[in-house]
């Protein structure tokens, strides 16, 4: 196994350990060991980052050229968001949730070897704007992924409180109010990052309309509108609580499905990378 792939998988296993440690603590009705979990997440993040870096060097750009790389990148984004925002929320369980989601994504990416069979080098043709668009888009997917996970926590906490079940096992979960606040912030931040990513793509689309897949365009715009509507409804307090949590979870699943369909259509169309075009791609404002 190549070192980059191996490192990414080791990172996923370390995330799994962090998640398992938390689950074991909860099963024993003990508070999760926050520092140990955070330490494991950091170690896994370092290992996964190294793996992604090696892959990036070998493919000559941000490693998001096949399904394996995309899932790994989203997994990495989830942890990135947690590492930089987890301390703000002061929610111990968030580390375990992030680790669980990251591990699930990363291990899924490795489940089908064919997903990593084809690697595209120089995917962005040296165009930093396209690469930034792609990286930000997948970062926003990572944030939406974390949002889906915290929404799942909300549903669990809400179900437990409503049905009066498992009061002692779930007492270490964040409160309903905390989870609502976290979800709103993640939604707002994810949407902002997604908007910037699409803004870059929009400018690129005006200049090179043929370089964008219709499937990708439609699904991405739909997702952007959907998250926008959800954010507005939440701000107006028309959508909140259990319904908001379900919508967040379903939208992320939709995002993953569309990602997979976009990947599939990209293989079918076998497009030329921007570098293969006659003239170098230049975006307004780019020196």
């Amino acid at each position: 196994m190549e070192p980059d792939r191996l490192l990414m998988l080791i990172g996923a296993l370390v995330y799994t350990c962090a998640a398992a440690l938390t689950l074991a603590s909860l099963a024993r009705r003990r508070p999760p060991p926050h520092q140990v979990v955070f330490g494991l997440v950091l170690i896994g993040f370092g290992i996964q980052s190294t793996g992604l870096h090696l892959r990036g060097v070998s493919v000559g750009g941000c490693p998001i050229g096949n399904t394996f790389e995309v899932l790994q990148f989203i997994s990495w984004s989830v942890i990135l968001v947690y590492v930089f925002t987890g301390a703000v929320y002061r929610v111990t369980i968030l580390g375990a949730v992030s680790a669980s989601l990251a591990a699930a994504l990363a291990l899924t990416s490795a489940a089908v070897p064919a997903w990593d069979a084809t690697r595209r080098t120089n995917l962005f043709g040296g165009n930093v704007w396209v690469e930034t668009h792609a990286a930000l888009a997948f970062l926003s997917y990572g944030i939406f992924g974390l949002l889906a996970a915290t929404s799942a926590l909300f549903l669990l906490q809400n179900y437990s409180l409503k049905k009066k079940r498992w009061p002692s096992r779930l007492r270490f979960l964040p409160s309903v109010v905390q989870l609502e606040a976290i979800n709103l912030r993640l939604l707002a931040v994810g949407y902002a990052v997604f908007t910037v990513a699409l803004g870059i793509a929009f400018v690129y689309l005006i200049i090179h309309p043929s370089a964008v897949f219709p499937t990708k365009l439609l699904s991405t715009v739909f997702l952007w509108i959907a998250y926008g509507v959800v954010l507005v409804l939440r701000m107006r307090q028309s959508l909140f609580g259990r319904r908001l949590a379900w919508v967040n979870a379903v939208l992320f699943l939709f995002a993953l499905v569309t990602l997979w369909s976009v990947e599939a259509s990209r293989k079918d169309h076998a497009p030329e990378p921007p570098a293969a075009q006659a003239a170098p791609v230049r975006l307004p404002g780019r020196s």
Partner: protein, 365 residues
């Protein structure tokens, strides 16, 4: 001939050995505690001492060079003199232990196993305070220092690795824990108490003790409502006005003796519509119920009645009781292990006389 290291002895009374009246008579004021420490420092054969005084117990742990029974009698006399409680009645309700038995007992006390509310955590802080007080008075010699440090470690271990402190076992604390699962920080949560029955008072006090700043009491009996408001630092809301203020509150505790429903589902729905994204926690302690059961089906509304809270409290209590035996066994092993390190090669301490009252809960056995 090498000097014999001091033995550890214990003398005390607690909720299991003495009535509340006796414990009140033996409770030490700050001046009496100072007096007791001064007398302990002057007592021949006592090389160190720690006095643990709580509302449920007074215990003296001492490092002594005298025979255990003699030392225990000395300690009882000192306690009698300081509290002016006659020594003979004191001996009838006091217990004593020496060496490993005293060590085991201290481990169990610090871990909360010997508390009236098994698994409570306040006792460890009280033991630490007693340790500091002895240290300040330079009555903490090396064996006692080591003994207490190991005790703190053992108590912390017990809390972390066993289920003795799992869950709340009083109705009030269960309600508070549920509120924390809904709101997290309870400081800003606005709480309305309707009625001032006994159970409602306990629950209201539990919330007040957790730092709820905005609490209001609405009671048909103005005097009882005023007393509860004084006890909880809350304000009075005229009973006829509370329905109008319902959307304002995050937590509503109902404990009236009304024979009909006070808060219908429609009223709750109307209140929630005015604060849709903010949860509403309804606690119905009344029998018959004050709140229509269907209100709990509304989004963002969490309704618990007395039976729900009692069931959770009982489950927690059962789990704690199951964990207690395992914890006691583990702590005993740790005590024996420590005893081997602080008293190796020594003769086992002389057992307390047969006529001495055993430690409560036959711990000394």
């Amino acid at each position: 001939m090498p000097e014999t290291p001091p033995a550890i002895v214990l003398v005390g009374v607690n909720h299991a050995s003495a009535s509340l009246a006796v414990r009140e008579a033996l409770s030490l004021s700050a001046g009496q505690l100072e007096d007791l420490y001064n007398r302990l420092a002057r007592t021949e054969g006592v090389t160190g001492a720690v006095v643990l005084g709580t509302c449920n117990r007074i215990e003296i742990y001492a490092a002594v060079t005298a025979h255990a029974d003699t030392a225990m009698a000395q300690l009882e006399s000192l306690l009698s003199v300081v509290t002016t409680y006659p020594v003979e009645p004191l001996r009838e309700v006091s217990y004593g232990a020496a060496g490993l038995d005293a060590l085991r007992h201290l481990y169990r006390v610090a871990a909360g196993l010997d508390s009236q509310m098994v698994g409570e955590t306040e006792i460890l802080g009280q033991v630490k305070t007693a340790y500091r007080q002895a240290e300040e008075r330079k009555l903490l010699n090396k064996p006692l220092h080591r003994l207490f440090q190991k005790t703190f470690q053992a108590a912390k271990w017990a809390r972390t690795h066993t289920g003795i402190s799992d869950g709340q076992v009083s109705i009030g604390n269960v309600a508070v824990e549920l509120a924390q699962r809904i709101f997290g920080d309870l400081d800003p949560a606005k709480t309305l108490v309707i009625g001032s029955g006994e159970v409602g008072r306990d629950v209201a006090k539990a919330f007040a003790s957790r730092g709820i700043r905005a609490m209001a009491i609405a009671g048909r009996t103005a005097e009882r409502a005023r007393i509860l408001a004084d006890e909880t630092g809350g304000r009075i809301v005229p009973f006829e006005e509370w329905p109008r203020t319902l959307p304002h509150w995050d937590i509503v505790i109902c404990a009236t003796s009304a024979q009909h429903v006070l808060i219908g589902k429609d009223a709750v729905a109307a209140a929630v519509r005015r604060r849709p994204a903010r949860p509403l926690f309804l606690i119905d302690l009344a029998v018959p119920r004050d709140i229509e059961a269907g209100a709990g089906d509304l989004p963002n509304v969490y309704l618990y009645n007395f039976a729900d809270l009692a069931r959770i409290a009982n489950e927690n209590l059962h789990r704690r009781q199951t964990a207690v035996e395992a914890c006691r066994h583990a702590l005993d092993e740790r005590a024996v292990s420590l005893w081997h390190t602080i008293g190796p090669g020594r003769e086992p301490p002389p057992p307390a006389s047969a006529d001495r009252r055993p430690l409560p809960g036959s711990i000394g056995g």
